[in-house]
């Protein structure tokens, strides 16, 4: 008893003395215009390849006065210094005029294709430290906007500031809930290195396999706060075959490692665990990978996203209806 009192007192003191970190809405709560993932059919490419990309974008706004549109910058940025996408931004200043609707100059749609230039590799430079092979980075930029796109430059916010904005018909700039600017990278090697997008076997909810077309059904939570709502396990199965070797990675023992594979969950309503590691580069398949899903407080039709990524640009996803009845 005395011990318990002592511990409770110490808990109180620790709470009183701990640093105060604020809480924000979780990242995996989709309540705005979002690009969640962009998949390329060739994460590792070679010169001359045709690369196809498709995007998983979703408009999570409650009110959708204007529809979300996805635009692609038609020019692919080649080999920016240190592979940093923002190093491509200065080139946009000469390509796009300020204060002009760029929509006609951009490619609109959920997919994009381009050919890797034959001469993209140039002459290999001196090898850097570590075991990375010679390669070049190509960067594809795209954006989701509920209006039209204009070039705005850095506006004094630093070299990494997004140089485009989304504007409505009155040329009023829309906020982050209506605009998102994204990039996707493709790595080009002299010879093709095996690297495929991971596959998904199935998704399980509450121990049962989910039919992607039927989705998940839960009753609304009756508790006043969603944190108090009961959680049910959500898990995803990725086959062992997707766990590819990673020649660049060396384990602590000096052996060649494998990819790191993880899953990110997003939901438009309710609450879901965010990231779960599925395969570790050194120890392989992770034993316990299940996350939690909580129903929202109100009934409605929601959406659950499970995006599986590996650390070499491989991506795949599931988009599941989430019925709250």
């Amino acid at each position: 008893m005395i011990k318990n009192a002592w511990i409770l007192g110490a808990v109180w003191m620790l709470g009183a003395t701990g640093c105060n970190f604020p809480s924000f809405d979780p990242e995996n709560q989709v309540t705005s215009v979002r690009i969640l993932a962009t998949r390329t059919d060739k994460p590792y490419a070679t010169p001359g390849d045709t690369v196809n990309l498709d995007v998983l974008a979703f408009d999570g706004r409650a009110e959708k006065a204007h529809p979300m549109r996805v635009f692609w910058i038609p020019t692919v940025c080649t080999d920016p210094p240190e592979g940093a996408p923002y190093e491509c931004y200065p080139a946009f200043a000469g390509a796009f005029p300020r204060g002009e609707d760029l929509t006609p100059r951009l490619k609109e749609g959920m997919s994009f294709s381009f050919d890797v230039p034959e001469d993209v590799l140039g002459m290999p430079g001196p090898p850097g430290p570590g075991s990375a092979p010679f390669y070049k980075t190509l960067v594809v930029f795209h954006m989701a906007c509920t209006g039209h796109v204009e070039y705005v430059g850095a506006r004094g916010r630093g070299p990494q500031a997004v140089p485009f904005g989304c504007f409505d018909a009155e040329r009023k700039e829309l906020g982050p809930e209506a605009f998102m600017f994204a990039f996707s990278r493709v790595f080009v090697f002299p010879v093709l290195l095996p690297n495929s997008n991971p596959a998904i076997d199935h998704l399980t909810f509450d121990g049962k396999t989910v039919d992607p077309s039927e989705g998940i059904t839960m009753a609304p939570c009756a508790m006043p706060e969603i944190d108090q709502c009961p959680a049910k396990p959500l898990d995803i199965s990725v086959p062992e075959g997707s766990h590819e070797p990673d020649p660049s990675y060396r384990t602590e023992d000096g052996e060649m490692g494998k990819e790191r594979i993880l899953v990110d969950y997003y939901v438009t309503g309710g609450q879901v665990s965010s990231t779960r590691l599925l395969y570790d580069p050194e120890s392989g398949k992770v034993g316990s990978t299940a996350g939690d899903l909580r129903a929202p407080l109100a009934a409605g039709e929601e959406t659950l996203f499970a995006i599986v990524r590996d650390n070499r640009g491989g991506i795949t996803w599931l988009e599941i209806p989430f019925h709250v009845r």
Partner: protein, 907 residues
């Protein structure tokens, strides 16, 4: 032709000597004339040797008809027929005396000087003209002439007629002896102790004794110049001693505070308000060759609110030291990065000075003798650092033959200290140790709180010392000390993230076995040798990543200090570190801002190295005292670093001018010097670092003054400028640059029986430019305003109340907005403003309060305290945090109200 008359002159001078001058080879007659009467009254040495003197010598320079002639000389042959006239020489009637000239004292000229004069004395006995035969300079000639013109003689006579005369007159100026004064006080109450017996052993081995007056004061005059040992004993008190260097013509004032030796009957009645006793010297910005000391007593350090009585944490309250973040055990000195400030224990470098999180020092306050803290412009004795420097001195064991002990317990740790003398050996010892115990309660607390992680932090340190004195001139000391910090954080849900994060484990430890030998070879030559061996280990692991380093440093330092002449001392020394090491690192590849994660290169980098590092330094430093109150200390240091395979030459100069010789003291000071710092091990690593690096460089400039206002209040003001260049920049070599400039103010009330406190204010600016093509920007360690006020008041009956208030500019930060979304990895990039650190958090302010209560028992003493940080619970912003896409931000606040309790017993 005039002939020398022969006279017999009898004269009793001021010091009572009777001299007889006969013939043409006169002897010198010394007369003390320079010292004030009260000084003369206590002279014990022969006046001919000690006193500035007047010597006079008669000569036959008057016209022939007025020439005085000696009566005891046979007349010349040509005068044999005439009756010999009776000639009586002039006789000194009044002599106001002469002083050793002030000019010579100011110029630190302390030689014995003789000035010969030709005096023309008229028939009424007045000196009509005084002419110096051979000028001596330093104000001696002017002083001699001025004094001679005031002499009054009984005129020379031929037969019964007064006649003019011309004589030779000699002044011998002997430098005035130093004066030693002092006061004996009760250790804490400050009340005078009388009677107390003072024994002074001077450089010539003589012992002088005296007693204190009713007000505790005492004085000794005519003591010998040079190192002096003072011992005070008083009935009912512990004896106390001190060492001082006495300078001619200067008064040295020594205040000694005695600790009551409690008899049983006294203890019940003893005041319960006696704080701990020993003193620790904290010297701010004072090079070791400096003249004066700035002292904080240990009782002050132990009572500063918000520090838990930790001496090294008290440094963070001095001007020039920025406020570290909470749980940040860092010394940010004059805008320099923490790693630019080097730390030593008695001259031996140590890798850390605080246990993790800055909770406490690796050397407990109870074992400290002094902390030498140099914000900049430190002596050529020290190198390989371009920021500040801290040298922690561990005190000698008590030598009174008794056993002493101390035990302390608070919420963080428990500590123990035992010291005394090993019987029949003359060897004294000190054993101390400390271990944290909050790992005993924090783990269950975190588990009960459902924190998801459990921690097991713990630290301990230890010190063992043996010391043997060989007479008064030599001592040998062996010191074994070390520290060990361990922290493990276990993640109870290791897969709840992007990695299989199972936890973090860190283990940092070091130990040193140090031998120190000090020998005063002669009165003017001192030798000090320190050597140490040890081990430094760091083991940090997080998942499959981490690093492990082990070093076995062998360090040595030797210095010879030679007094070349009275106003010149030379110091020559060498210091060296040879350090074999093993290193293994497996860390993520460094990623510049704006470079996204993922991709073929986003794999850990790994390196395993074994080798050795060698750092050697040669230095010389000279102390000149060209005139009174002036000290000029030029120094030169030559360093070699094997990691860069290069030599660095560091000239340095420190100046100090005391404008007054007594209290209230006024002093001006200035310094300039070049400081080099070799790149760190990671910066020169072939995988993680760069090749071809040179040492970072900094040029320090510092000017200031010190002004006392009465015996307790002192103001110290400094202005400083640091020019930084050749800074190692990531991937770009030694292209970085920067500057730090500012001013520091310290207004301090020195402690008395009731109160101590100070106000410290620093105004500064610290800038860096990583590469020439980039703009200069605020450094992350820039804090424009740092104001610290401390006050502690003794309420009586064992109660004491103290407070510390701090008002500090917020730390700089770089505003961040939403950048592009990496649709491959699923993360937003941060768009950081340029230049960095362009914004600043709001002002930090915090009030800490400490309350102490002491009970004194028959044979021991018990103290309890509560130290409450941030008593009005201000939510100070310590950082800024963003949501996932950087569209929302909020401050992260620091420590709210934080009480800490402690108990301490002393034997």
């Amino acid at each position: 032709m005039a002939r020398l008359p022969r006279f017999v002159i009898e004269r009793k001078d001021l010091v009572g000597g009777i001299r007889r001058l006969v013939g043409s080879k006169p002897r010198a007659l010394a007369m003390r004339a320079s010292c004030p009467p009260r000084t003369l009254a206590t002279l014990t040495d022969p006046p001919l040797r000690r006193g500035a003197a007047v010597v006079f010598l008669l000569a036959s320079l008057a016209p022939r008809d007025a020439l005085a002639q000696a009566p005891d000389e046979p007349p010349a042959a040509s005068d044999a027929a005439a009756p010999a006239p009776v000639i009586v020489p002039p006789r000194l009637k009044a002599d106001p005396g002469v002083k050793y000239p002030e000019q010579a004292l100011k110029e630190r000229f302390f030689e014995e000087v003789t000035v010969d004069l030709i005096l023309e004395i008229n028939s009424s006995g007045a000196v009509r003209r005084a002419t110096v035969e051979a000028p001596r300079g330093h104000g001696f000639d002017e002083a001699a002439v001025a004094a001679a013109e005031k002499l009054v003689f009984e005129p020379a006579r031929r037969n019964d007629k007064n006649i003019p005369a011309r004589i030779k007159f000699r002044y011998v100026f002997v430098p005035p002896p130093p004066k030693l004064t002092g006061r004996v006080e009760h250790q804490t109450a400050g009340s005078p102790i009388a009677p107390a017996s003072i024994t002074v052993r001077t450089a010539d081995g003589a012992e002088h004794t005296t007693q204190t007056a009713a007000d505790g004061s005492w004085a000794l005059e005519n003591v010998t110049v040079g190192p002096t040992h003072i011992t005070v004993t008083a009935p009912g008190y512990e004896p106390q001693s001190a060492d001082e260097e006495l300078t001619p013509g200067e008064e040295t004032n020594v205040v000694l505070r005695l600790l009551p030796r409690k008899a049983p009957e006294e203890k019940d009645a003893a005041s319960e308000d006696e704080p701990p006793v020993q003193e620790i010297v904290v010297r701010g910005e004072r090079p070791p060759r400096e003249v004066t000391k700035r002292t904080l007593k240990r009782e002050e350090i132990a009572l500063i609110p918000g520090t838990n009585g930790d001496a090294l944490r008290s440094l963070q309250n001095l001007p020039g030291v920025a406020r570290p973040p909470p749980f940040g055990g860092q010394l940010i000195v004059r805008g320099s990065a923490p790693q630019d400030t080097t730390t030593y224990v008695d001259g031996t470098p140590v890798p850390i000075v605080y246990h993790f999180g800055g909770l406490s020092s690796v050397v407990p306050t109870e074992a400290l003798d002094k902390i030498n803290f140099y914000p900049s412009n430190y002596s050529a004795v020290y190198g390989r650092g371009m920021g500040g420097m801290v040298d922690v001195g561990i005190r000698d064991p008590k030598k009174d033959g008794r056993l002493h002990g101390m035990a302390q317990l608070d919420l963080i740790d428990a500590r123990l200290l035992v010291e005394g003398t090993i019987p029949k050996t003359g060897v004294t010892f000190l054993i101390a140790g400390r271990r944290s115990w909050f790992d005993g309660w924090l783990g269950p607390v975190l588990t009960a709180a459902g924190a998801g992680v459990s921690t097991a932090p713990r630290y301990y340190d230890y010190q063992v010392m043996l010391q043997k004195d060989f007479g008064q001139r030599a001592s040998l000391r062996l010191l074994f000390f070390g520290s060990d910090d361990g922290l493990e954080i276990f993640n109870e849900n290791p897969n709840a993230g992007a990695t299989s994060f199972t936890g973090i484990g860190t283990h940092t430890s070091f130990w040193r076995l140090q031998a120190r030998y000090e020998h005063k070879l002669t009165d003017s030559t001192e030798l000090k040798v320190t050597a140490a061996v040890g081990q430094d280990s760091v083991d940090v692991g997080f998942g499959a990543l981490g690093f492990t380093t082990t070093e076995l440093p062998i360090s040595g330092r030797a210095e010879v200090s030679q007094k070349v002449m009275r106003s010149v001392r030379a110091n020559v020394g060498i210091d060296m570190i040879y350090s074999p090491y093993d290193l293994h690192l497996r860390l993520p590849r460094p990623r510049p801002p704006g470079v996204p994660a993922g991709g073929p290169e986003d794999v850990p980098l790994e390196t395993t190295q074994s080798g050795n590092r060698l750092f050697g330094g040669l230095y010389t430093e000279w102390e000149f005292m060209p005139w009174q109150g002036m000290r000029v200390v030029p120094g030169l240091r030559l360093d070699y670093a094997s990691s860069t395979q290069s030599w660095d030459l560091s000239p340095r100069l420190n100046l100090r001018q005391e404008l007054t010789s007594g209290s209230p003291r006024t002093a001006l000071k200035a310094g300039a010097g070049i400081f080099y710092q070799p790149p760190g091990p990671l910066e020169t690593d072939p995988v993680f670092g760069q090749e071809g690096l040179k040492s970072n460089r900094s040029v320090h400039y510092d000017v200031g003054f010190e002004q006392e206002f009465g015996p307790r209040v002192e103001l110290s003001v400094n202005a400083f400028y640091k020019q930084l260049d050749r800074l190692v920049s990531d991937g770009a070599g030694n292209v970085g640059a920067g500057s730090v400039y500012g001013t520091e103010w310290l207004l301090r009330y020195k402690s008395d029986e009731r109160f101590f406190g100070w106000i410290a204010y620093t105004l500064s600016r610290s800038e860096r430019r990583p590469e020439p093509s980039e703009p200069s920007a605020r450094s992350p360690y820039d804090q424009t305003h740092v104001l610290t006020t401390i006050a502690s008041y003794n309420l009586g009956r064992g109660y004491r109340l103290g407070a510390r208030f701090r008002l500090v500019s917020g730390n700089p930060y770089t505003p961040t907005t939403r950048g592009a979304y990496d649709a491959t990895t699923g993360s937003f990039q941060a768009a950081t403003a340029s230049p960095p650190n362009g914004a600043r958090l709001p002002f930090f302010h915090q009030l800490d309060v400490r309350f102490d209560k002491t009970w004194t028992f028959t044979s021991w003493k018990l103290s309890a305290y509560i130290d409450i940080q941030n008593i009005y619970n201000h939510q100070n912003p310590e950082g800024i945090t963003y949501n996932y896409d950087y569209t929302q931000s909020s401050y992260v606040s620091g420590l709210p109200i934080l009480p800490s309790l402690g108990l301490r017993g002393e034997l």
